[in-house]
Amino acid sequence: MSPPPAIALPAESVAAAPTLPDLWPPVKPLRGFTGFLRRHPTVTIGAALLIVMVLIAVLAPYLGTVDPTTLNTSRRTREPSALYWFGTDMLGRDIYSRVVYGARVSLTVGFSVAILASIAGLAIGLVSGMVRWADGFIMRVMDGLMSIPPILLAIALMALTRGSVGNVVMAITIAEIPRVARLVRGVVLSLREQPYVDAAVAAGTRMPMIILRHILPNTLAPMTVQATYICASAMIVEAILSFIGAGVPPTVASWGNIMAEGRALWQVKPFIVFFPAVFLSITVLAVNLLGDGMRDALDPRLAKGL
């Protein structure tokens, strides 16, 4: 069993997953990078889409965009045309430019949350798994946090601070940490029972060394997969936060903000919501595909699962 996107199974069940006998004929070994991509088409598709999005984000100023925050209220809510490719919004801002620049926000939030939640979750999970006396306390706190639905927790945290990209990242990260911590702790607990770890302990290897040599490499695979799903979920949560008015500041062009602003007009000016929705969905889809593909690739034991 491996963690599905957005939420994770208890880590114990990950660790306890039985090794599956392979029902399928062995895959013909393909060599090199192209071989890897051909064996994992989902990785290829996901990565390709994601690279396109990253390029759009990075090259935003060179893609025929104007300043996404410049408003001109005498040309508001224009339909898509040769001049305004995706139309204009209620303040006369160019939606195409806003959507293109919006890629920066979504990707920044997605990647930052994935990285920060992984690092923090890893640290907490390691401490919890290795230090017996702290385990009970840490896990109760994590259980408590986990029992608050993540979106609810993120909204509540955003109510604490002012809207900024950094605060959105922090809020979503805090909501995601417990899941990573549990996953890591589960892996650590199962590894501690492994003979080679026992042997290392018996041989007097110091704890940091054990962690570095034996524990970390083994947690890396499930964590990377989990991080991908966190990235996808973070982008959706960011959009939801902005949609309900608790996200990044409205002066920032983010997909969630564009949709929030166009929300009241979806019946008359559906294009305002349509374009950011499509971009968001494609990006999240790309990351999810990548996650699925990576899980298959990094963890052959789970290759045929899910």
Partner: protein, 534 residues
């Protein structure tokens, strides 16, 4: 019978069967025609019109509570609960006599002691009430139907105070309820108005319901806003709270609600296309958009900076962002008072008129004490009016070459933050956006936002003695000409020192199903004389 009618009929039958005639009101064709489903501007989160000044609470309260006087459509106070009044020749003693037969919803008669208790509570919270209270000698019930108010100095605007529709209105409640601390909420909603509040059906954030009060005695005069007869032609009014305009619009088109108080302008063309929907202006007195600058701290403690902002400010840009391209709905406002009302003036308004001269504004800013410090601009995102204005202001300050610290937050936080007098860097603020109902900007008595008494003034704490001198002159004025002269000087003084920045005057729409009749334009969605056919 189309599908929807069929479903509704079966639904009604289902209800009768399911509840066996219990409390749930059965919905039959007939009952549906007697129930008016109304989408108000905001949620009815609490229900004490003295304790809060929210417009939405006032609008629900005019159904449940009655007032001694009521504004008619000429903004003149007319007798409502009062049968007759008398002002002694020295102007110090007011005697009010109640109409006979007035009853509260619990069956008790309306007595003079209820009136004195209600007025006492209102006086604590209302700005005009506070002025009266300061002059008060005694407020007593002479007999069951007679109230006497003795003052130390004449207060000629007495009937205006008792009949005004700006919040808080002087509603009359039973004595036991009116004895509640004015700073605590009442928890019994008994009035003597034309509708009873159905407490069991109140789900804050979702709905509220009112039922016709059988014992209400209407005045004989024709209804005119809060004056005249309040004849209820429907048995029940249901308020359906819909925070999302898209949902409200869809519900109105589908016939799931009957009357929508404030459709956003961009949706109006869609509603107009629907054969079953009427659209019209909601309130001829409209609204005044505004942002306030903090007069206590840099940079806005320097009048030159405030004037520079006003010089660069393009009201047309604000109005288009707020209301849209329909120029029938808004106009620029080179002054502070509501256009179309007697005291309206453009005296001193040149700074807001004509083509915007950004270069001149920049020159003025350069002469001022502004040194590039960040301007903390606090903007509530959950109110469309403040949000749109905030976006335009951010752009305006940027153009002017000011350094903007844009704080996007919600109305609740703005409410807290704007009350802080500390410098912007220490939790305080530089500017925030709001709006005022036109009805609250017709004269200085109801216009808290124009006052410039410094520490005691509204948020921003403008301290402009010249403005206050003219306020006193207006209160002392003996006729309309004197009033007008005082207001002209007031308007100029307020613009010269920029008490606050007006961003324009705008009207809002209301929309209703064509089977609803009798809806009038006004500052409150008046439900009397409104009928509905099946």
């Amino acid at each position: 019978m189309d599908r929807r009618t069929f479903l509704k009929t079966t639904a009604g039958a289902g209800a009768i069967v399911a509840t066996g005639g219990l409390a749930t009101p059965a919905i039959s064709q007939n009952a549906a025609a007697k129930t008016l489903r109304f989408v108000p501007q905001a949620n009815l989160a609490n229900f004490d019109p003295i304790w809060t000044t929210q417009y939405v609470v006032r609008n629900a309260s005019v159904l449940v509570w009655d007032t001694l006087y009521g504004f008619d459509e000429d903004l003149t106070p007319q007798r409502q609960m009062v049968e007759s009044e008398e002002n002694s020749s020295d102007g110090l003693t007011w005697t009010f006599r109640l109409r006979p037969g007035l009853k509260f919803h619990d069956g008790a008669p309306v007595l003079a002691k209820d009136v004195t208790a209600s007025l006492a509570r209102w006086c604590v919270r209302d700005s005009m009430g506070q002025m009266i209270k300061a002059l008060q000698q005694e407020l007593t019930a002479v007999d069951d139907r007679t109230v006497k108010w003795v003052l130390k100095k004449p207060f000629p605007k007495m009937l205006l105070a008792l009949g005004k529709n700006s919040t808080p209105m002087a509603f009359i409640m039973p004595e036991r309820i009116a004895k509640t601390d004015p700073f605590k909420q009442i928890d019994e909603y008994i009035g003597s108005g034309p509708m009873k509040f159905v407490r069991g059906d109140w789900v804050p954030g979702a709905k509220a319901a009112f039922e016709k009060f059988a014992d209400y005695i209407s005045r004989q005069e024709k209804a005119s806003w809060l004056a005249g007869g309040k004849n209820m032609l429907v048995d029940r009014i249901e308020w359906v709270i819909m925070p999302d305009p898209a949902t409200a619009s869809a519900a109105l088109q589908n016939g799931e609600v009957d009357w929508w108080e404030n459709p956003i302008t961009d949706l109006v063309p869609l509603l107009r296309k629907n054969r079953n929907i009427s659209v019209d202006i909601a309130d001829p007195l409209g609204n005044i958009g505004a942002f306030r600058m903090n007069h206590l701290h840099p940079p806005f403690n320097d009048v030159k900076v405030r004037r520079a902002v006003l010089m660069a400010l393009d009201q047309e840009e604000y109005m288009r962002a707020l209301v849209g391209d329909d120029t029938a709905l808004w106009k620029t406002l080179p002054g502070y008072f509501t256009p179309g009302t007697p005291l309206y003036t453009e005296e001193g308004g040149e700074i807001l008129k004509g083509k915007r001269d950004l270069a001149a504004a920049k020159r003025l800013l350069a002469e001022s004490s502004y040194k590039g410090e960040p301007v903390t601009c606090v903007v509530a995102q959950d109110q469309p009016i403040t949000k749109a204005q905030g976006d335009v202001t951010a752009e305006l300050l940027k153009r002017l070459g000011m350094n903007v610290d844009f704080v996007a937050t919600d109305w609740g936080t703005v409410g807290q933050r704007r009350a802080l007098k500390s410098p912007p860097g220490q939790g305080g603020w530089g500017m925030f956006h709001t709006w005022h109902a036109g009805a609250d900007c017709v004269n200085p008595a109801v216009y808290i936002a124009i006052r410039a008494t410094g520490d005691g003034a509204w948020f921003g704490w403008p301290n402009v003695p010249a403005v206050e001198t003219e306020v006193d002159a207006w209160f002392a004025a003996k006729n309309l000409d004197e009033e007008k002269a005082a207001i002209k000087r007031l308007n100029k003084a307020a613009l010269d020192s920029v008490v606050y920045a007006p961003t324009g005057f705008f009207l809002g729409y209301q929309a209703w199903r064509k089977n609803v009749n009798g809806i009038v334009k006004g500052p409150i969605p008046f439900p009397w004389d409104v009928s509905k056919t099946a």
